[in-house]
Structures are given as C-alpha cells and as structure tokens.
C-alpha cells in the first residue's frame, strides 16, 4: 500500500504509525458518505427532487442558516473581542458559558429556548404581552434556534484568532490617537478577517445541519419552519429512499458553498 500522494509529502514520507491511523480516519469519515451515494435512488431522483416541498425546505434552510450566521456575526464577534481583549473577573466562567451550547444536546437547547423565549417563557411571556410577539413555530424561531447552536463555533474561532493577533497593533493605533472602537474597526477587524470568515463558515454549516433545537423550539411546518434536516428525518420514517435523496441535496449544497469559500477558509486555518 503506497499512496501516490506521498511523493509530494514531507521529506522521508509519513511514518507508518501516523499514516495508518490517518488513512483509517479518512476512510471512517468518507465511507458513510460513499455508502450514501452508492445506495442513493438515482433513478427516482429527478422525481423526488422536483417536489415543491423539497425546494421549500431547501430555500428555508439556506435563508435561515444565513440569517443565523448574520446574527452570530453581529453579536458574536463583539463577544469574542470582549473575551479575548478585556480582563474582567469571571472571564473563564463566561467563556465556559459561551461554549456550553457546544456540548448541550440540541434538543435540550431547544427546550431551554422554549423556557426562555416561549409563549410562557421567562422572557417570552413579556414579549407576548407587551409586543404580541411569539417566537415558537415561526421562521424567526428557526433562526434563533440555529444561532443559539451555531454562534459558539464563531465565537471560539474569532476569539482564537484574536488571541493569536498581536495586540501591539491596537496599542500603536491607540498611541496615534485612535479610540478603542476605531482601533477595533480599522486595525483589529481587518487583521482577524480570515478568522471571522472561518468562524462564519463553521457557524453556517452547523446552522444548516441543525435539527434538534429547531424541531423542539420552532416545530415543523412546511414552508415556515421545516428545514432540510427536519424534512430528512420525517422522510426517514416511511420513505428512506426519499430521505437519502434529500440528504444528498443538502450534502451537495454545503460542498458547493464550502468549496466556493475555500480560499478564505484555507488562509484562516
């Protein structure tokens, strides 16, 4: 077994104790996707994919994932800056809290969102009685659920980049008379742009695949809250072939988007 890619590798080639597990790792990740392609109902594909419900779900998924990423950018980048640049008591605790949605089962996240923002929730009841706004079962609810799950990816990525960036650039800007906000806007932001892009891509991908928090908080209604992962799950109940077809669409879309963003993604990592 001599992989041809070794020719271009590091001098001396990859040592076997590293190469073997690496190849197993690659196969482990790729094999299920290949199996999906092998078992895909290619013949009935056109018919499965032209239904309006699929397009509705796909459109909704793309819109909601993008909106959730936008929300995460607007409030996540400043949060990352706060964690990386400002020393305050309990910063470690705040950082842990921010990353909590990463380990929380998304369904629990959905229930937590219901407790907070539901019609009867801690904050939600006031939203309902003061402004007449109820978030569950709405498209806005989908965006909120996805942002809740996806934002930590962005915050962690941006915070890491911020910590790696030299703060002396900002200090230099300050000595030249820039306010802290101007320094952030004109010096820090351009400096960490690749990190922000990487974080945004991660968050977008996570939001696109979000299932548990969405179905728990926003429910499932075609055209309003039924995103692709929900459509896939429900199709799986009685028509696995349709579910595979839907998954392939989601796969193709995310590969297309990630490939389109590849350059910026690469420079960031």
């Amino acid at each position: 077994m001599r992989p041809p890619s070794l020719r271009r590798g590091v001098r001396g080639g990859a040592p076997l104790p590293l190469l073997l597990p690496a190849l197993i790792g690659l196969a482990f990740l790729v094999l299920p996707l290949v199996a999906l392609l092998v078992r895909a109902p290619w013949r009935s594909m056109p018919e499965l994919l032209t239904s309006t419900e699929v397009w509705q779900a796909l459109q909704l998924s793309l819109v909601c994932a993008t909106a959730a990423t936008a929300v995460s950018l607007v409030i996540g980048v400043p949060l990352a800056w706060l964690l990386a640049r400002v020393e305050f008591p309990g910063r470690g605790l705040v950082r842990a809290l921010v990353t909590l949605p990463l380990v929380l089962p998304p369904v629990v996240g959905g229930v937590a969102l219901l407790m907070a923002l539901g019609r009867n929730g801690v904050v939600g009841q006031w939203l309902d009685s003061w402004f007449g706004i109820t978030l569950p079962f709405t498209t806005t609810g989908v965006v909120i659920a996805e942002a809740f799950v996806a934002m930590p990816f962005l915050v962690i990525s941006v915070e890491g980049t911020l910590r790696a960036a030299d703060p002396r650039y900002e200090e230099a800007a300050a000595t030249l008379g820039a306010s802290r906000f101007t320094a952030f806007r004109r010096v820090t932001l351009p400096l960490i742009a690749p990190g922000i892009a990487a974080g945004a891509v991660l968050a977008w991908a996570r939001a696109l695949g979000e299932f548990g928090a969405t179905i728990t908080f926003a429910g499932n209604f075609p055209g309003r809250t039924q995103t692709m992962p929900l459509a896939v799950y429900l199709a799986l109940q009685n028509d696995p072939a349709a579910a595979i077809a839907l998954s392939l669409v989601l796969l193709a879309v995310s590969i297309a988007v990630l490939a389109g963003l590849r350059d910026r993604w690469m420079t960031a990592s």
């Binding site: 470690g92 229930v111 009867n120 079962f137 179905i215 499932n220 209604f221």
Partner: protein
C-alpha cells in the same frame, strides 16, 4: 504570550477529561451488554420447565408505563426471570429488529410497523392485537379555550399541533379529520406523539391531537377532550414473538400476561381500549 498559552492548556485538560469520560461511558455500556448476553445464554441453556432467564421486549413508546408495571409483576410472579424493555418509536424499533437486534417480543403501535417485521420474516407466528388506542384532544389545564370538539380546533386562532402524517398518531388524526371533512392548519407537525403533547404541557400550544393514553400519562398538566370522530381512527396494537427469540417459553408467558384479564386491567388503567 503566556496569556494565550494558559487557556489553551486548560482547554486541553477539559478535552482530555471529556475524552476520559466518554471512554468510561463506552466501557461501561459494553460491559453491561456482555453481562446481559451471558445471563441470557446461560438461562436458555439450562432448559428447565420452570420459567427463567431474560426476555427482551421491544415496545412502542406509548406502552412505557403499563408495560413497565407488567414487567415488574411478571418478575415477581416468576422469580429468576428478568424482563428488559426497549421503548421507542414503532418505526425505529421495527427497523432495528429487521436489522438484527436481539429481541424476544415486539409490541408495536400500528399494524403498518408490525408488517415491516412480518414481511421481513422476523416474526414467529401471527401477530395478535392486544389493545387499541383512541385519539383525544389535549388542551391546557382547565380547558381555557372551551374546546369541545374537533371542529373547535379548526376555525379559531388557536395554536394547534398535530403529529406528522408519517407517524401513526398523525396518520390517525388525518383520518379523523378527513372522515369529518374538516380542514385543520396546525402551527406544527411534530415528529412524534410525545413532542406534540409536550408542546401543550409547556403551554406553547393551546391544543394537540394525541392518544388517550398520552393524556392520561400527562396527569393534570393537560386536560383531555374526547371527540366522536376519533372512532374513525382507532389504532390497533399488535404483539408478536420474534424468530430470534432464544427464550421462547418465558417470552410466551409474558405475552400471555399482557393479554390476560390482569394485563388488560393495567392497560385499561393507562387509557387503552380492549381489542
């Protein structure tokens, strides 16, 4: 520089601890599996006329409360036996049985999901209907919106949740709506009956169409409203012995208990109808 290193190390420690916990968990579950398998095989090997050994029952989620009670009664009546349950969506259970999961008995919430198992040749004998379940409207406690019929759910600005049409409770609700020529636009088609019910328990929805047994299990967190159209969509629950069963005597005895007068009493108390 030190400032950037320290948190990284802490992160590593956290990840390490997490990995260790995961390993411990997996080790725990694997040892659990092997011990139960060992006890099962030793029991079937003894072959004494007295009932013994472990039986694994795959049962629809709605049977959880009543089957757990019956399992305890069975173990008490036959010392040395152990009944292990796996509760879940009938579709998922059927899929794991046809996929080779080791189980002795399958009790499903719909003939359709049972057919998946019989068609695959995984059932031993013909499935028998042991209970039936009827739909009911679950409303908020005290029924503040004065829901009295299925029709009351259609016109007004009530937030109603239904099960998705792909799961048995959603199919049954649709059947009842079609039979009475009603058109109902819910705020959500939930993925299973328990999440539909929970939307009312959490007061996010005003009403849900669920099973009588779910309303009963929720206690005073919801109020049930019966509706006549539910007679058009009653779900049969079939039970069968599985071909892969290695402890057929004990498995059959448990099925007999389920279908006996005593078993039916427990099931009736949970809200099930007699077949």
């Amino acid at each position: 520089m030190i400032r950037t290193v320290r948190p990284t190390r802490r992160m590593l420690q956290v990840t390490g601890a997490g990995a260790a916990a995961l390993l411990a968990l997996s080790a725990c579950s694997s040892s659990d599996g092997s011990s139960s398998a060992a006890s099962g095989s030793s029991a079937s090997g003894s072959g004494s006329p007295k009932l013994s050994g472990e039986v694994t029952v795959f049962a629809a989620a709605s049977l959880k409360e009543s089957f757990t009670t019956l399992g305890k009664e069975f173990e008490k009546a036959h010392p040395g036996t152990k009944v292990t349950f796996s509760f879940g969506g009938s579709d998922a259970l059927a899929a794991s049985i046809t996929g080779g999961a080791p189980a002795d008995v399958f009790a499903s919430a719909s003939p359709k999901t049972m057919k998946v198992v019989t068609d695959a040749g995984d059932a031993s004998g013909t499935p028998a209907t042991f209970v039936r379940n009827q739909l009911e409207i679950a409303t908020l406690p005290g029924n503040p919106d004065k829901v009295a019929s299925l029709k009351d759910l259609t016109g007004s600005d009530l937030k109603v949740v239904l099960c998705d049409k792909s799961v048995p409770c959603g199919a049954a609700a649709q059947k009842a709506l079609d039979a009475s020529r009603l058109k109902l636009t819910p705020v959500s088609y939930e993925e299973d009956v328990k999440s539909a019910l929970n939307k009312v328990v959490l007061k996010e929805a005003d009403a849900a169409v669920v099973y009588k047994t779910d309303v009963k299990a929720a206690g005073d967190k919801v109020e049930g409203v019966e509706f006549p159209e539910s007679a058009d969509a009653i779900n049969d629950y079939p039970i069968t012995l599985l071909r892969s069963s290695e402890n057929t005597e004990t498995a059959k005895a448990f099925m007999e208990l389920v279908r006996s007068a005593e078993g039916q009493k427990v099931l009736n108390a949970a809200g099930f109808l007699n077949p």
